[in-house]
Amino acid sequence: MGKYLLLKHYRGAPAAVNDVPMDQWTPAEISAHMQYMQDFATRLEGTGEFVDSQALSPRGTFVRYDGEGRPPVTDGPFAETKDVIAGWMVIDVDTYERALELAGELSAAPGAGGKPIHEWLELRPFLGSSPTVTE
């Protein structure tokens, strides 16, 4: 039992098999993709495995502390940044195998030509709190 983050990247993941930018799909293919994503989330709500899903804007800024009484330093956005996160889904599943299975299904969302994107999703287990019973 545990929570997993399915991380989707704008950039930084290995190239997908069906790697065509969305604005080069047909409008109907985009609709089919959105429907697939929504159906997937709805199905996981139904099985009690869905926790959260969010999409992120590609525009990001790096920020850091710059010392007492000074405003934070900002940098970016960087055109050359290697890794840009597009969004995530959090699932709560019984086994690691189930998490793999669901990530695989999500990666099969249809893209250009109506064929699966085979997109690489990053699967990351949550570090939870320590168990009450430890021995």
């Binding site: 409008p27 293919e29 985009i30 609709s31 994503m37 590609p58």
Partner: protein
């Protein structure tokens, strides 16, 4: 028992407690506790006099809280002898609550939360769900808001404009979770309009009704945005449109124009057209001129450029657009639209892709990507299929 009645009684009951001498923050908590008890108990054991029940239970909870507080601070409690208010005062109390909850010292997010709880009678849990934050976070936001306004006298005259801004924010949030915030905003604005003769309250109510009327036609499968020109106008709610137009006409007749009335007039002109082609764009441009004059808002100028593009042709729209700052939100989307109409699909496709990258929410991003995809498919010579 009609539980929909519960939220409508909330501001009245808070008003009664405050008139009996309770401070607003404690009274509001007491009424919230009474509401939660009512939601639990009423379905099985409905009271004969719902308002009387709420007043009694909330007052008891207030006294419990005040006594606990008093014994901590060793202070006398002298509020029990206060007279019960007459029926005429309930309206004033509710109006005062609107002002207090939208007080200028509050941040917009706090004013919204406090208004939904104290005036709207929603529970903290419902508000938290609607705004997708944890319940504890929302509870803290509300109690901080109440501390912020604790020094404000309850009978102080407020500014209607601040209340309208809060209600407008609630309306624009749409709906998520199990609370329909747009419908809630309409209920609260309707209630406010019944208590005041302010033209802009009527203007905002009309604006909400006219936009709400189009909601069934605004989204397609999988939450897809359907732009105004493509909406199935048969799915617009004609009852809401008729009410919105009536409310607006009565407001305009008083001849004190404001930004919400102008926006509602634009919405009414759209509602008036049985097809997109019949839209009276010339009049819409005139109303945008009014809106720009009233607000000097760059967003109004941007929307005006679209209307000019429809009334006088895309080149005129692009000329109007050229005067505006390209950093404005949705500037690229408007530019894309006008370039396509001006017969430049290559520029339009590039701008739609750019606009999608800058989109502030997911449905808009998908919609703009769809537009880019449609043009790119045309440019490749593919048959249009979306």
């Amino acid at each position: 028992m009609d539980e929909a009645l519960l939220p409508t009684l909330t501001p009245t009951v808070i008003g009664i407690l405050v008139r009996r001498g309770a401070d607003f923050a404690t009274a509001e908590d007491a009424v919230q506790d009474a509401l939660v008890e009512a939601v639990r108990g009423w379905p099985d054991d409905p009271p004969r006099d719902p308002k009387g029940w709420l007043v009694t239970v909330a007052w008891r909870k207030f006294l419990d809280a005040a006594r606990a507080d008093t014994s901590r601070r060793h202070r006398e409690l002298r509020v029990e002898e206060e007279p019960v208010p007459g029926p005429g005062e309930a309206v004033d109390d509710t109006l005062q609550l609107y002002f207090l909850c939208a007080h200028p010292s509050l941040t917009p997010a706090s004013a919204v939360a406090l208004t939904l709880r104290a005036v709207g009678g929603l529970t903290t849990r419902q508000i938290a769900q609607a705004y997708l934050v944890p319940e504890a976070t929302m509870a803290q936001r509300i109690s901080r808001a109440k501390r912020t306004v604790s020094g404000v006298r309850f009978n102080q005259a407020g500014d209607v404009a601040t209340v309208l801004r809060v209600l407008y924010l609630v309306f624009n949030e749409g709906y998520s979770g199990d609370v329909d915030l747009a419908a809630e905003a309409i209920r609260l604005t309707r209630q406010l309009a019944a208590m005041t003769m302010h033209e802009e309250v009527a203007g905002l109510l009309a604006l909400m009704l006219l936009h709400h009327a189009r909601r069934p036609a605004r989204t397609g499968p999988a939450g897809r945005l359907v732009p105004l020109a493509e909406q199935d106008r048969g799915r617009w709610n004609t009852r809401l449109i008729a009410e919105g137009v009536d409310v607006l006409q009565a407001a305009l007749a008083r001849d004190r124009l404001g930004e919400f009335q102008a926006q509602a007039a634009i919405a009414a002109l759209h509602a008036d057209a049985s097809t997109a082609e019949e839209t009276d764009w010339v009049q819409i441009v005139e109303w945008y001129d009014e809106l720009v004059r009233l607000t000097d808002s760059p967003v109004a100028r941007l929307n005006r450029a679209v209307a000019v593009g429809e009334a006088d042709g895309p080149q005129a729209g692009l000329t109007a657009l050229a005067e505006l700052d390209p950093a404005l939100p949705r500037h690229a989307a408007v530019a894309a639209y006008l370039h396509e109409r001006a017969g430049d699909p290559v520029t339009a496709a590039r701008l739609y892709t750019e606009a999608a990258r800058l989109a502030p929410n997911l449905p808009e991003r998908v919609h703009l990507t769809q537009q880019a995809a449609r043009l790119n498919a045309q440019l490749r010579g593919c048959p249009e299929d979306g």
